[in-house]
């Protein structure tokens, strides 16, 4: 066992941090957060040039084929920098869905373009508030066309293509299948919507007989999404970890610098304990994340449990750290001008994309039950 980053991975992490510190400092994040654009095209281009988008895409499909450990390392840095780019939608969702379930031809067609940053992709699942289930989806597919609406679609306002989950009238019981849809084609209408985190774009997408290309085995859409989400959950967890870590550092620095009652506020035990709790949560999350990254990188049978654990652990740490970072900053933390709230907003965005905490708690316990030695007997 070697439960740490390799030298090359550490190097990659340092390079990533440096690149993002140069190209995507807080002022650039704010440009997107406060401006009209839904992402930062220059940062996106830079990321594409560095080949980050192809990190886990095999070389035969135009990627770097470095692996998932490396992708996770980058995810942590992107989360730390609050990078306003459609990276997760493209690399963790769309590219993963296609590499898991796409035909050889589809992989050849799409993966190289994702890897180059030529194509922004996303996954369109939710259709409004509430948990998504087979019964809750109303978007329909028949005769090569999709109709319905999807809301919210992460980066849906800037993506070129979306993987859309819909009831498939072509399979018995109208089970859910996946489809690839060009978002600039006829029959697709999209509108940017406002969310808690304007640092990332979101859209409502209306489909009216939009041309669609089936992806994966018909009727197995939700099963594929489950697998995509397990994988994405690990990478999202790293983004959350990066955010939590940064919030912890901001809070620590401020506690050292700010005086009250003639001493730094960090000298009060209430603040020390708070910071210590944030540290503990972050370290637990880090360990769970590393384990998840390993399970993902070798496609271990432990992945479903490891992914849910990493995600829940990172949601907790990120929520705690970003919330208490504001608290430790006092009135300053509650201002628009300080960056504390950007982290707090992003924390909720990451916690809800892929479905919220209660859903993942359910998933985790279901999987833990399933993995017990006598689970099958017990079920009978």
């Amino acid at each position: 066992m070697d439960f740490d980053l390799s030298e090359e991975q550490q190097l990659l992490k340092d390079q990533a941090r440096k690149f993002l510190a140069d190209q995507c400092p807080p002022a650039e994040v704010r440009r997107v957060f406060e401006g009209e654009e839904s992402f930062h095209p220059d940062v996106w281009r830079g990321i594409a040039e560095l080949g980050w988008l192809g990190t886990a895409v095999p070389e035969e499909y135009g990627g770097v084929g470095a692996g998932y450990m490396e992708l996770c390392v980058l995810a942590e840095e992107l989360g730390r920098a609050l990078a306003p780019v459609p990276f997760s939608s493209t690399a963790y969702l769309a590219a993963e869905a296609i590499s898991l379930s796409g035909s050889e031809e589809q992989q050849r067609k799409y993966l190289p373009r994702f890897a180059m940053g030529e194509l922004i992709g996303t996954l369109a699942l939710a259709e409004g508030p509430g948990m998504v289930t087979a019964a809750s989806l109303e978007t329909r597919y028949a005769d090569g066309k999709l109709s319905g609406h999807k809301l919210p679609v992460p980066d849906g306002d800037v993506a070129n293509i979306a993987i859309v989950a819909a009831c498939d009238q072509g399979v018995p019981g109208e089970r859910i299948s996946l489809f690839i849809v060009s978002l600039v084609a006829n029959g697709v209408d999209r509108q940017t919507i406002e969310t808690l985190d304007p640092g990332r774009g979101h859209a409502r997408i209306d489909l009216d007989n939009a041309a669609a290309e089936p992806l994966g085995r018909p009727g197995e859409g939700l099963e594929i999404i489950d697998r995509v989400f397990d994988r994405a959950a690990v990478m999202f967890a790293f983004e959350q970890l990066g955010g939590a870590q940064r919030a912890l550092e901001m809070a620590r620095d401020y506690a050292l610098e700010r005086f009250a009652f003639g001493r730094p506020v960090g000298s009060f035990q209430a603040i020390k304990h708070k910071l210590a709790d944030m540290y503990v949560a972050t370290e637990l999350a880090r360990s769970n994340c590393y384990y998840g990254a390993w399970a993902l990188s070798v496609d271990a049978s432990e992945l479903p449990v490891a992914a849910a654990t990493a995600r829940l652990s990172a949601i907790k740490a990120n929520h705690l750290c970003t919330k208490e970072n504001i608290q430790i900053h006092g009135g300053m933390g509650f201002t628009w001008e300080f960056d504390c709230h950007l982290y707090y907003r992003r924390a909720k965005l990451l916690a809800l994309t892929l479905g919220g905490e209660p859903e993942w708690q359910d998933r985790l316990i279901d999987r833990l039950r399933r993995q017990r030695p006598n689970a099958e007997q017990a079920a009978q």
């Binding site: 939710a126 509430g130 005086f259 994309t353 919220g356 209660p358």
Partner: protein
């Protein structure tokens, strides 16, 4: 113990209800959507209440109140309900804090001059306490007031001042003597917010709204009649204000629990509504128990007051409980909305996006009016009698105290 109204209380309640039925403007909701609208609305509504004898009923009759008992005040609060919760916040610093403070520390002339227009909301008040360098440690205020003939010249900067952009008057804590230990060199003043030298600049909050401000005071002249309490006794006066700021949670269901329950009935979670989900139920039950505990605690306080006793120390838990409660409730509300919980669009988000707004606003409750940490210290030290922190700042002259940015080893 009896939680029912006595005969007199029931009679009072029905009189209150009758007056409200006849007088609450039917369009009040539409008129209280923005802070500016609320300010306009509250001026009209307080005046109408005052004419009917229902404004600040707990105040003595000399200052246009009704001398009502604490129990009657509470009944009135229950009956005015949501209308009060929604519309009364621009006057809370006035009638909720500055008014009670003046009744304890103000001169007769000050009470006569300031209380009646405060009660009618003809004048809106704000609180010039916090500064860039001090919030929790309020006694470290640096804004200077220097004697000048029959008045004072005040210079300094205040921050986080809620409602300063609407305010006509302010309560101010300023340093009159920096050479003595910090608690001893403060004095308390009333400031005319329209006076020359007062400049208000809005600060944007993390939610994007600008409900608080920076206030710059440059050579502002304050007549000595507007000093409250003795020179150097400002800290005592400020403590009275803080006590009122931290106590009491007014209005009906300030927690929005009913709203949350309704959402859980309506939102699907799997094949059933969220409210059927066991984890959700456990958390809702938890919330309810805390809310109920807080409501009943408030009633205990009230019943002590109405027996003419000082409220017990339990009164100090209100804001601490409420703040955490709001943050937790909001978090659950968003989690149950799933991926769509991030939408802030009023037309798309459940309940018009109130929970998303809450996500960006509730955290201020943990900071404003005394942070959670300060409130816990207060409970530990004042209520439980634990020894205070060793204080290095109490005996030293104010001007010698270490501040942010000082290098020390």
């Amino acid at each position: 113990m009896n939680f029912d109204d006595t005969l007199e209380e029931a009679e009072f309640r029905s009189r209150a209800r009758k007056w409200l039925d006849e007088n609450v403007p039917s369009d009040w909701r539409g008129r209280t959507t923005t802070p500016a609208d609320i300010v306009e609305f509250i001026r009209e509504w307080q005046a109408r209440k005052a004419d009917g004898g229902w404004a600040c009923i707990g105040w003595p009759k000399t200052y246009d109140g009704q001398g009502a008992t604490p129990m009657e005040e509470a009944i009135w609060g229950q009956e005015e309900g949501e209308l009060a919760t929604v519309s009364s916040f621009p006057i809370m610093i006035g009638v909720g804090m500055a008014g009670p403070m003046l009744m304890v520390h103000g001169s007769d002339a000050q009470k006569k001059k300031y209380l009646p227009p405060m009660l009618r909301a003809e004048k809106i008040w704000c609180q010039l306490f916090s500064e860039p360098g001090c919030g929790s440690d309020l006694a470290a205020a640096r804004t200077r007031a220097v004697r000048d003939g029959d008045g004072w010249i005040v210079t300094g900067q205040k921050v986080w001042t809620s409602f300063a952009h609407f305010a006509d008057q302010a309560i101010l804590l300023a340093r009159t003597d920096p050479t003595v230990p910090k608690h001893k060199g403060l004095s308390f003043f009333i400031v005319d917010m329209k006076a020359p030298g007062v400049e208000v600049r809005p600060i944007r909050q993390m939610s994007g709204d600008a409900e608080f401000n920076e206030v710059y005071l440059t050579d502002v002249r304050i007549p000595d009649e507007d000093r409250v309490g003795d020179v150097g006794a400002g800290w005592r006066v400020a403590m009275t204000v803080l006590m009122h700021e931290r106590s009491g949670v007014a209005g009906a269901d300030p927690f929005g629990f009913d709203n949350l329950l309704e959402q859980m009935e309506n939102l699907p979670m799997g094949a059933t509504p969220a409210i059927e989900n066991e984890a959700v139920r456990a958390r809702l039950a938890d919330f309810y128990v805390r809310i109920s505990g807080l409501e009943k605690t408030n009633l205990r306080t009230l019943s002590a007051l109405s027996r003419g006793e000082q409220p017990g120390s339990e009164a100090s838990i209100g804001k601490l409980v409420l703040a955490e409660q709001l943050v937790e409730q909001t978090s659950l509300a968003l989690d149950v909305q799933g991926m769509a919980g991030i939408m802030t669009d009023e037309s798309l988000a459940p309940a018009g996006g109130v929970h998303q707004q809450g996500y960006l606003r509730d955290l201020c409750m943990r900071i404003a009016g005394g942070t959670d940490e300060i409130l816990r210290n207060t409970i530990a030290e004042r209520v439980l009698g634990l020894p205070p922190d060793l204080r290095i700042d109490k005996k030293v002259a104010f001007e010698e105290l270490p501040v942010s940015g000082t290098v020390r080893d």
